[in-house]
């Protein structure tokens, strides 16, 4: 019994350390009307890598977020820890451990 607790504690420690260096990608709920939007944890250190990890979970997401040239769509905005991503072509914004990436729609009229 004691050993099992110990193992569990080790595993919990690994998970905690693992999560400590994971960034999180969250998609706007508006996208759920069209396709699945899993919340993804990633070890990527740049924004594009984090998005690619999300596209591995749901490949159809790619076309909703990126255009034909793999640039951020004109009316999609991405925030990394609350700061808007301005590199819409390279998507090279650095991610910190436990960064949160929000993929949102820009506001529009009509």
């Amino acid at each position: 019994m004691e050993r099992r607790v110990e193992v569990a504690a080790v595993v919990a420690g690994d998970i905690a350390r693992h999560h400590a260096r994971m960034a999180r990608v969250v998609f706007t709920q508006h996208l759920r009307r069209f396709t699945e939007t899993p919340e993804v944890e990633t070890t990527a250190d740049l924004l594009r890598g984090a998005l690619e990890d999300a596209f591995k979970v749901n490949p159809r997401l790619r076309g909703y977020v990126l255009d034909d040239q793999a640039h951020l769509r004109r009316n999609v905005v991405v925030f990394v820890d609350g700061r808007r991503c301005d590199d819409r072509v390279g998507l090279a914004d650095p991610l910190r451990a436990q960064s949160t990436v929000h993929v949102l729609q820009a506001l529009s009229g009509g």
């Binding site: 996208l31 909703y64 034909d68 040239q69 769509r73 009316n75 999609v76 009509g110």
Partner: protein, 361 residues
């Protein structure tokens, strides 16, 4: 006889069914989403019953959906996508802006887009490829946008009996013909004239703005063109165009419908002029010719004749296979139908979202 029609609007796709002399909305799909174009269900062949609808999601781009049961259920399919753009490629970005035309020919589906790419699918929309033979033409460098920032293919007219024979109309990039299943292309603009260009370029085929081209299915060599600055007709599949100057109200407009069996008949919906795109004197009319454009009758019964500012855009008018059933929808969200070739029109709704396309089938 057309007993089903589809109306693609800024806020959904409406299926209409004939009920007596009128039409009723039978189903609404994609409510709230802009539907830029649709392809009615295939009548026959391996994909019989399959239809397509193109969404233009404001935030998330163009998406294509298919239905195998006449619009009851939809699923997303592959969207035409441009290949990686070379760093030194001139012209507009290789990015899909709008899916503007969908036509089927045999087992092939064609998609016309802004910024000017033609795509083909040989599995009825499951996968697409850019027609590089047209996209790579050096003449494309002269194309430009008309009403949009980039040029676009709005008309795709496959020959109904000669497989591999195809016309496309581009605003503003002329009319192009392929006789070898889109392997090679030739301009077919002789006779067209662009008054919006410097005089020395008025006859330049590469910059003509055919707002819409429509073909007579029974005599497919007869093509009608509502051009930016006039109406034209060709009796040899676009090799030579003759200007039609007898339109009584105006020769400016966007839509044209060609009678399916009578090559001398066509319908146009005029607006005042390029610089004033509303019905003349606030009265909506349809111009109908029965003699190849030598003369027109002005059809107005049942249409608003005062304080009307509706514009019927290039895909907003269609005629059914019977040659008598017509329907047209406006940018103001109004929809009218006729069962007698336009002699009398019936208002079906004045409250739809802006209408992008009307199609029977």
């Amino acid at each position: 006889m057309g007993d089903r029609a589809w109306v693609a609007t800024r806020k959904g796709l409406f299926e209409l069914r004939r009920c007596g002399d009128g039409w009723g909305v039978a189903r609404v799909s994609f409510l709230g989403e802009p539907v830029s174009m649709l392809l009615p269900p295939a009548a026959a062949g391996p994909h019989a019953g399959r239809m397509l609808a193109a969404l233009n999601l404001g935030h998330f781009g163009t998406k294509l959906h298919a239905s195998d049961d006449g619009g009851a259920n939809w699923h997303e399919v592959s969207t035409p996508s441009y290949p990686e753009q070379p760093a030194d490629a001139p012209g507009p970005p290789w990015k899909l802006v709008l899916l503007w035309a969908l036509e089927a020919s045999g087992t092939t589906v064609w998609a016309g887009t802004l910024p000017g790419g033609l795509f083909r699918s040989d599995d009825f929309g499951a996968s697409w490829s850019l027609v590089r033979s047209l996209w790579d033409l050096p003449e494309r460098a002269e194309w430009f946008g008309g009403g949009y920032d980039v040029p676009g293919i709005h008309s795709i007219s496959p020959h109904p009996t000669q497989r591999g024979d195809l016309l496309v109309g581009i605003s503003c990039g002329g009319v192009w013909h392929s006789g070898d299943d889109a392997a090679t292309w030739r301009l077919r603009t002789r006779g067209l004239r662009a008054t919006y260009m410097p005089p020395e370029r008025a006859d330049d085929g590469r910059i003509q703005d055919p707002h819409r081209i429509a073909r007579c299915r029974a005599q497919p060599q007869v093509i009608w063109c509502q051009h930016h600055n006039g109406i034209w007709r060709s009796v040899d599949e676009g090799l030579q165009w003759q200007e039609v100057t007898s339109a009584p109200v105006s020769s400016f407009g966007f839509a044209v419908a060609a009678h399916p069996s009578d090559p001398a008949r066509a319908w146009f919906v005029p607006a005042v002029a390029d610089q004033c795109r509303v019905p003349k004197d606030g009265a909506l009319v349809v111009q109908h010719t029965r003699d190849g454009g030598a003369s027109f009758e002005t059809q107005h019964r049942g249409l608003p004749q005062a304080d009307c500012y509706d514009l019927v855009y290039r895909h907003g008018l269609d005629v059914a296979d019977d040659g008598a059933t017509l329907m047209m929808g406006s940018t103001g969200g109004a929809l009218w139908s006729s069962l007698d070739g336009g002699e009398r029109w019936l208002a079906l709704s004045m409250h739809l979202p802006p209408v992008y396309a009307v199609r029977f089938g």
